[in-house]
Amino acid sequence: MLIYETDIASSYEAVDEIVPILLDAIKSKFMFMSDRYMFNINFMLREILNNAVEHGNHFDPEKRVHCRIDYKVPVLAFIIKDEGEGINLENIPTEAHHPRELLRVRNRGHQTIRDMDFDIRIVGTEVKILLNLNQGERLWKNNY
């Protein structure tokens, strides 16, 4: 089931404008969705869309970021595609081992999204984020 599909300009302002619309579309289909789920989806969408705008399209006004949200029981899928050259997975840091490393300037978004129990799959310029709604919020909250 298609929840929403659109494309946006390559700017942070465009991301800030579209995210509330995407959240409303999700909430209208999944009224049971808790505030914590919605907060995490809000954070995740901003992270992936900002990355597409900045690292994918390099803020190029000629390039667009495509965003599609699908639901196939029990998984909510967010598919974000930019017009860049793709992501090198080896360049994305995961766990920080030294406490001060937690204060690094950037590169904490993907790890945080994984910690929120989203499944991230990257193929070329397409990032697919999966959220299994059957996993239960109890498990999710245990991670906090």
Partner: protein, 101 residues
């Protein structure tokens, strides 16, 4: 961002979302504050109005904390929602500065 100087405590109250589209103007405001004549020994970042946050917003908070630490000033966050407090705990950032309700 609004500034309130109460004694030696500078309270920075965020009005707009702690999101990528606002970070540049927040940084400009902080730079201006640092260069001003105002005297303070403590900075409190008030997030009571904030519902939206992204990793660049988190980076802004960390940057502000580091600036204050380098200048020997105390730093804390206040008024954050349960969700934002949970996010900072998830990122293990609560060990560096206080987060008060």
């Amino acid at each position: 961002m609004e500034e309130q100087l109460l004694g030696s405590c500078m309270r920075l109250i965020l009005i707009d979302g702690l999101t990528a589209n606002n970070i540049s103007k927040f940084n400009t405001k902080v730079e201006a504050l640092m260069e001003s004549d105002m005297q303070f020994t403590e900075v409190v970042l008030d997030l009571v109005n904030i519902r939206n946050i992204d990793s660049m917003g988190v980076t802004f908070v960390i940057g502000l904390y580091k600036k204050m630490e380098n200048q020997g000033k105390a730093f804390s966050v206040s008024g954050a929602s349960d969700d934002i407090v949970s996010l900072f705990k998830l990122m293990k950032l609560d060990q560096f500065f206080e987060m008060n309700l």
